[in-house]
Symmetry: C2
């Protein structure tokens, strides 16, 4: 039984992530699922959390915590840096 599983949001089909989160809670019996994303996938991470919470597993899952952060990353050989943001949404199964 996985206590806490992490799902990284990328450019796969949206419902892949929704079903992946739901499966962790159901067939893997996870207590918590962490949705992580960076950059432009942050909006998607919020969408996934909301579709799971309000539709796919309505009434069964809560948002435990949301945190954001960012780091400066070198984007090319000239040493130019850009700040990349990230989000972490922890969903928890209702007792």
């Amino acid at each position: 039984m996985a206590e806490q599983t992490i799902i990284y949001i990328g450019n796969k089909p949206f419902m892949n992530y929704v079903t992946a989160v739901a499966m962790q809670f159901t067939s893997q019996d996870a207590k918590e699922v962490v949705i992580k994303a960076r950059g432009r996938y942050i909006s998607r991470a919020v969408d996934v959390a909301e579709v799971v919470r309000k539709k796919f597993m309505a009434g069964q899952v809560d948002i435990k915590s949301i945190s954001i952060d960012s780091e400066e990353r070198q984007v090319d050989q000239t040493g130019k840096k850009r700040r990349i943001s990230s989000i972490e949404i922890v969903l928890v199964k209702k007792q």
Copy 2:
């Protein structure tokens, strides 16, 4: 002196939002600034919060809270609905 001001993120130039938030804290002496966004602007809202927190007003501002929500909206005359997510990031001035 504004206690809490709301900045809605849209498609204006990125730095407009960063300076708007910073100005609320400095010239308007706001204690808290709320950054709100919907849909694809959610990633931008996180970017704005992080640039203010870590660069523009480094060491002067903290994240007080982050909340997400969503609502189903009718997208056309056929009655088709789509879920639109939103985020609310509350920044607070360090005492």
